[in-house]
Amino acid sequence: MLENIKKEFSTRILVLIPIAIAINIAIGELVVRLKLPVYLDSIGTVLVGAIAGPWAGALTGALTNLIWGLFNPFAAPFFYVAAVIGFLAGLAGKRGAFENESPRWLSVLVGAVFVFSLTMFILAFSNASIDDTGFTSYPSMADLFSQYAIIFVVAILIGAAIGYFLLQRGGYAGFWGLITGIVAAIISAPTAAYVFGGVTGSGTDVLVAAFRASGAGILSSVMAQGAVSDPFDKMLSFMVVWLILRSLPARFKAR
């Protein structure tokens, strides 16, 4: 075990990690400048995970947030989330998610399932009702489907299109990105809710407010906000890394 961990940290990887952290921060800030509704601040982390392995990916993630914390203290307490993202990217890499090309139907499936669940999730929240005792009840699946049939069909089509045109042959990477995003949303919520009262000081706070207004608790609102933004963001990041590794000559992928 310890030997394996050590093997991940060759000199090349030790040199790559600072560059990856700088990529995370530089692109993270660029995205803010372009006012895009994503974070894209873990491309470097995913890259190290993909090239070197889970432990190097985890270290890259954790250090990104701790170092970013020197400028933006909000990032620091989430270092463990970033570490898990890097770790999962490393596992994905070990499974060949960044090397193998997926069949296009898989990408279509991943995209469709993703947008479908997202839609269901948002509709369920926005149709929740609170009774007098403060108990929140959610509508049943059957009610939702019958009431919003057209919306669901459109969602599946949009998802399939995203899968076909955006993920293309990166279906495996996209799939791992989705999983990673869901995990990230779940594990970051407690810290966001407890330490920061559920806010990030950025645009996504609107979502938290919406969920709070629909009667959800602080923790679940934050989780819900994460569930909307994180999977998409991580899917994109995994995709970008897949693209990068495909356009990179083999000699530069050496560890």
Binding site: P18, A250, R251, A254
Partner: protein
């Protein structure tokens, strides 16, 4: 006795088809200053990396033949021991800045810290090395704030301070102006006279002719010429293969065809050319 001894060395980078070095036989004596010339892709850098131990230890790939430096066999050594004998500085100075240090002085001390030189020995060594290469006044600057030529001097100094027996330099003056180039060649010449062995891949033939003891010409991974600078640099073997050739050599070669150049030897430097034409 030869301090560098390469026998039948053939090397192929991983994932490539063609060998970058083909059956190289190359011996260098202690205190010799050997320049390696060749067109782009000839294998100069690969030869440098081989002497410096990075081929095959860092690059992996397939190496056959034997590489010995100072009596040690490369295939039986570790890279971290090898670099104590053989110092390497290369072309792009920016990538040679460690990034872990805030001043030039600390940057140069980086290698000494790594190999465990005690602090009270470290400081005079850094000072001496900086004086040698003429960068003492840069000591407190940030390495990132320097010009390309200054950074190249820092990279060279960072290796010299480690007191290697063999110094391998891959186009170390590419970003320097003529004045800087002259100074650095002068420093290297002095070091060679004090007994350091120097291998330098370089395009600037006129400087080579003035300072090196010997020239090795590489072409498509093979040594096609090896001899005194004056002879090697003007050799007909090099013609038409994309070697950088001194303009004085080209002019004299043309002049020889028309009978204007009477000497046997062709010139490389301005002085030689002036002297040769003076007999006309």
């Amino acid at each position: 006795m030869a301090i560098i001894d390469l026998r039948n060395v053939t090397y192929k980078y991983p994932l490539t088809q063609e060998s970058a070095l083909k059956n190289i036989n190359f011996q260098v004596n202690e205190g010799e200053f050997v320049a390696v010339i060749g067109p782009n892709g000839a294998g100069k850098s690969t030869l440098c990396y081989t002497v410096a131990g990075f081929v095959p230890h860092f690059f992996k790939g397939e190496l056959s033949g034997t590489v010995e430096v100072a009596g040690a066999d490369s295939s039986k050594s570790n890279l971290h021991e090898w670099v104590l004998n053989v110092g390497l500085a290369f072309q792009n100075p920016f990538n040679q800045i460690s990034g872990a240090k805030y001043t030039v002085f600390e940057e140069i001390a980086f290698g000494l810290e790594n190999i465990g030189v005690p602090r009270d020995e470290m400081i005079p060594r850094v000072n001496d090395a900086m004086k040698l290469t003429g960068i003492s006044e840069l000591a407190d600057r940030s390495p990132y704030s320097l010009s390309g030529g200054q950074q190249q001097r820092v990279a060279l100094t960072s290796i010299l301070v480690m007191h290697p027996k063999v110094l391998v330099l891959d186009e170390p003056t590419s970003q320097m102006d003529p004045i800087g180039t002259r100074e650095v060649f002068g420093v290297i010449r002095t070091l060679a006279e004090q007994g350091m062995t120097v291998i330098m891949a370089e395009h600037k033939v006129e400087w080579i002719a003035n300072f090196a003891d010997r020239v090795v010409a590489l072409h498509e991974g093979q040594i096609i010429e090896d001899g005194k600078p004056q002879e090697a640099l003007t050799s007909d073997v090099l013609a038409g293969k994309g070697f950088g050739i001194s303009r004085y050599t080209s002019v004299a070669r043309k002049a020889k065809e028309t009978g204007l150049w009477k000497k046997d030897k062709l010139p490389v430097t301005l002085e030689e050319a002036v002297e040769g034409f003076a007999h006309v």
